[in-house]
């Protein structure tokens, strides 16, 4: 088979050196200024939350009932689901709230609890504010910026390479982590407004990966919400807290906390702190690209944009949304992720197999430091909060290329108006635009295409089986003759090349390899960290898998492109 010639899309050029900061003076970065002015920041979040809390404060009875309910839920959380990271003083705080409620209970008969309840509400919100608001220390930032990337890169390198090149410049960050996208464009926009980066998410490695990438392209630091559970280790906790990561407690599900969290994000964006959130809400269990997003935090960008115009109708600062897709040849947690996915989707149809021996744990540890992760970060085109493309000057253009003013979306009869139902609809529109960009700016790696091809061949071969039966196929039923694999692989590859020419997807640089080498590359790299081989080729030219589940996981990255018809 000959290699089909095609030209690389422009934005598949990888950046090769760390860019200087767009804003040189770290002390002047909004994240530094705002988080170091802690009291004022918390005050803004508290005030905004109270302003938007009419659902809670609308009448005395509701107000009191909701406060009692919040107290009850917080107590349940502390007693029934305590975590190491919980603040030891927290119990005292809620005891005090309880005292205040009891002390004023006689007032309930006279419907006169409003003053007390307003104070209680403020106390609670201030508590949340103190807990959530991080610091930003220049020293910590510098430390992470200078020390961690080299360590990270060395961790991600095969042992042999590491041995010969430990002190060499070959340990360049960008040899291990490929960053692609119109970086200059994003840098230019970061001078004009707040940048909100929304990446795909399927690994705990995503946060450092995207964090380093953003640092490497010279943007001011980003704030992001990190689960309270990550704050368990003292040193890590302090470090993250000093880097602008705000604490989010996922156990708290009551409305007041969720509103507070959203308002926190809004105030951060309003104060021009670059923000990062994973719009899928959680790691993609199936390994597929996110197709449905959690709209809660995403909606804060729309509200913040409107509030920017409330402050200054003519020159309100713009908020820019930058979608990013992250891809790896292997995902550390693939096994547990796909198990969770199948359990959730298949319920009793799915039987989990347990084989986590200590030997395999050792093997895993060894492989962590010897594998080649092949990380690729792809920044999509920056958009405004309605999903319109923006140019370097920040001007928005709708899908047909017509100039649009973002302010106009919030106007009714020439007035800037607030309408939460409208905001919800806009959030959906933005969500759809992000999902589309995830798809078109996803970088297909050799590992994805081999996994996709192999799994689909087997799926088709056993099309009378349920997906769960297919996933339980014994190893010897999974063999595919290389000749058969090659023919089908070629069809899928040709289609992907065609799609990349139509700007429907991006292809990893391995796609420049001749077909034979691309297959070998994919088989070698797909999930190369797992104990069981995701794909292997024996000397008789048979391709097989030791784990259908993992094969399924890596295959899922290419679902949604309608490639199944080429199998």
């Amino acid at each position: 088979m000959t290699k089909k010639n095609f030209t690389l899309p422009e934005n598949r050029v990888y950046i090769d050196k760390v860019q200087p900061f767009v804003h040189e003076d770290i002390e002047k970065w909004p994240i530094h200024v705002q988080y170091n002015n802690r009291e004022e920041f918390i005050k803004q979040v508290v005030e905004l939350t109270i302003k938007n809390a009419s659902w809670l404060t609308k009448d005395g009875k509701t107000f009191r009932r909701e406060l009692k309910n919040i107290l009850y839920q917080e107590k349940i959380r502390l007693t029934q689901d305590p975590w190491k990271s919980d603040d030891p003083k927290e119990k005292l705080f809620w005891k005090d709230i309880k005292k205040q409620i009891i002390a004023s209970s006689t007032l309930e008969y006279q419907n006169d609890t409003r003053d007390v309840d307003e104070k209680i509400l403020k106390d609670i919100l201030n508590y949340y504010g103190e807990e959530m608001t991080p610091n930003f220390k220049v020293k910590s930032y510098r430390f992470v910026q200078n020390v961690l990337p080299p360590v990270y890169v060395r961790l991600m390198s095969p042992l042999k390479e590491l041995f010969f090149n430990f002190f060499s410049s070959k340990m360049n960050f960008f040899r291990k982590m490929k960053v692609t996208g119109d970086v200059d464009h994003i840098r230019s926009l970061s001078k004009q407004g707040t940048v909100v980066v929304v990446p795909t998410h399927f690994s705990n490695l995503d946060s450092p990966t995207i964090g380093y990438s953003l640092n490497a392209i010279g943007l001011s630091a980003f704030t992001y919400g990190a689960g309270v559970n990550l704050f368990t280790l003292n040193a890590l906790s302090r470090l993250m807290n000093n880097l602008g990561a705000y604490r989010v407690d996922r156990r708290r599900k009551h409305r007041l906390y969720l509103e507070f969290l959203k308002n926190f994000s809004k105030v951060a964006i309003l104060n021009e702190i670059n923000s990062l959130f994973f719009p899928g809400g959680t790691r993609s269990r199936s390994g597929a690209l996110e197709s449905r997003l959690k709209l809660g935090l995403l909606g804060t960008t729309i509200e913040a944009q409107r509030m920017n115009f409330e402050r200054d109708l003519k020159n309100g600062k713009k908020i820019f949304i930058v979608p990013a897709t992250l891809n790896y040849h292997y995902v550390f947690e693939a096994n547990s992720l796909i198990d969770q996915h199948l359990k959730q989707v298949g319920k009793e149809e799915y039987l989990m197999d347990e084989d986590h021996s200590s030997f395999s744990a050792l093997k895993r540890a060894y492989k962590v430091i010897t594998a080649n992760a092949g990380m690729v970060v792809s920044f999509g085109p920056p958009m405004d909060v309605l999903g319109n493309i923006v140019d370097r000057e920040g001007q928005s253009f709708d899908k047909s290329g017509q100039k649009v003013e973002i302010r106009d979306y919030f106007m009714l009869n020439n007035q800037l108006t607030q309408d939460s139902q409208r905001d919800q609809q806009y959030t959906q529109i933005l969500g759809e635009a992000i999902v589309e960009k995830f798809k078109t700016h996803n970088v297909v790696l050799s590992s994805h295409i081999v996994a996709f091809t192999a799994f689909q061949i087997l799926r088709k071969r056993f099309n009378h089986f349920s997906i769960y039966e297919v996933l339980r196929l014994p190893q010897d039923e999974t063999t595919i003759p290389k000749t058969e694999f090659r023919i089908i692989f070629d069809r899928v590859r040709d289609r992907l090349i065609e799609m990349s020419e139509n700007k429907e997807v991006l292809l990893g640089e391995e796609f420049d390899l001749p077909q034979e080498e691309l297959i070998t590359h994919g088989i070698k790299h797909v999930g190369n960290y797992h104990d069981k081989k995701v794909l292997k080729m024996n000397r008789h030219g048979m391709i097989y898998t030791q784990s259908m589940k993992l094969l399924f996981f890596y295959h899922n990255r290419l679902t949604g492109y309608e490639l199944e018809q080429y199998i």
């Binding site: 309605l386 003013e405 973002i406 979306y409 106007m411 009869n413 020439n414 309408d419 139902q421």
Partner: protein, 342 residues
């Protein structure tokens, strides 16, 4: 009432009737591409047998409409809708709200020569607005709205559907009066589908009437007609909800019983033995149902159950007699009643 000018695009009988409705509440700027019509309306306040309120001013300048009105009702036939949008598009911004009242599809392919249509080829008017302009706040007005009756000031109602509540609210403020009630709905796709699909049921209804069949037959047609409208719409992911409201059962009742309905008249004259081309000439305006029928036929590979459309298609585009069509429908196996509701 605050001072405001609401735009209406289209000076057909429906556009004129709606302009008069809005004039109860606001000033109206009525767009017509025909300069003679513009002059006539501005000079005589009368057109197509309708007396027009003095609060209605006609113009032929799309830029003026877009500049002066943030709320605009495009009310032109589906065949001209895209061209109209392209004229207005340079002046439309996300500031505008568009509520259309056109009960038809836009087809991206050449319908006369197409052998099959995919869902992506078929646009409702709100989808076409989103595609052709920068406007996002889009709504649709549909219901039992026979232009003649509105023009005569008779009591009536409609539904305004949009995913945006503020679009519904603004539409209601413009349309509501003591003779006309506009209800709201978020099911815009369902409302649009109901408005379009009822057109061919109305053709069938006209035929039944001309054949001298009675009220039982008509009720059978309307009830089963609504069922198949729902089957088709579900294939487009619209819910059945809209069909129980003004745009569904409401519009079906009116249009299947009224000699004022163009689609009904097409069916009636066909049953009398007249030729389709002659009928279209005589009616003067487009009967959307004839086109809808073809669209439904070309979409039938999606597997929905639409026997009335199948029979009508064979009668209008094929060789079937009406009697054969009725026999075909009456000899089919019977299924469960109202099985579109869970």
């Amino acid at each position: 009432m605050e001072k405001r000018i609401v735009g209406v695009i289209g000076s057909g009988s429906f556009g004129l009737a709606v302009s008069n409705l809005i004039a109860h509440n606001y000033d109206v700027m009525l767009f017509s591409r025909n300069p003679d019509v513009v002059d006539k309306i501005n000079n005589t306040h009368e057109h197509k047998d309708q007396k027009l309120s003095e609060k209605i001013i006609a113009t032929g300048d799309p830029e003026e409409v877009a500049r002066k009105c943030f709320l605009i009702f495009p009310l032109v036939p589906s065949n001209n809708f895209q061209e109209m949008l392209r004229n207005f598009s340079p002046y439309l911004t996300p500031r505008h709200i568009l509520i259309h009242g056109t009960k038809g599809f836009h087809i991206e392919k050449d319908l006369a020569n197409a052998e099959k249509l995919d869902k992506e080829d078929v646009y409702t008017m709100s989808e076409l607005i989103l595609k052709e302009t920068s406007v996002v706040r889009v709504g649709c007005m549909a219901g039992p709205n026979l232009a003649r009756e509105i023009a005569d000031g008779q009591v009536g109602g409609t539904v305004i559907a949009s995913r945006f509540n503020e679009v519904i609210k603004e539409g209601q403020k413009a349309i509501n009066s003591n003779v006309f009630r506009a209800y709201g709905s978020n099911e815009i796709l369902g409302v649009e589908m109901a408005g379009v699909l009822k057109n061919y049921i109305a053709i069938a209804s006209g035929m039944l009437n001309a054949l001298g069949l009675g009220d039982n037959a008509k009720s059978l047609l309307i009830t089963r007609g609504m069922a198949e409208m729902i089957y088709i719409s579900k294939a487009f992911n619209a819910s059945e909800k809209a069909f129980l409201g003004m745009a569904g059962i409401g519009d079906l009742m009116a249009t299947c019983n009224s000699k004022l309905s163009r689609n009904y008249r097409v069916g009636y004259f066909l049953a009398e033995g007249k030729k389709l081309e002659d009928i279209i000439k005589e009616i003067g305006e487009v009967a959307e149902g004839v086109k809808t029928l073809k669209v439904v036929k070309l979409l039938s590979h999606y597997g929905f159950n639409a026997p009335i459309a199948d029979a009508l298609y064979e009668i209008i585009y094929g060789e079937w007699s009406i009697e054969k069509g009725v026999n075909f429908l009456m000899s089919r196996p019977v299924s469960f009643d109202a099985d579109y509701v869970d």
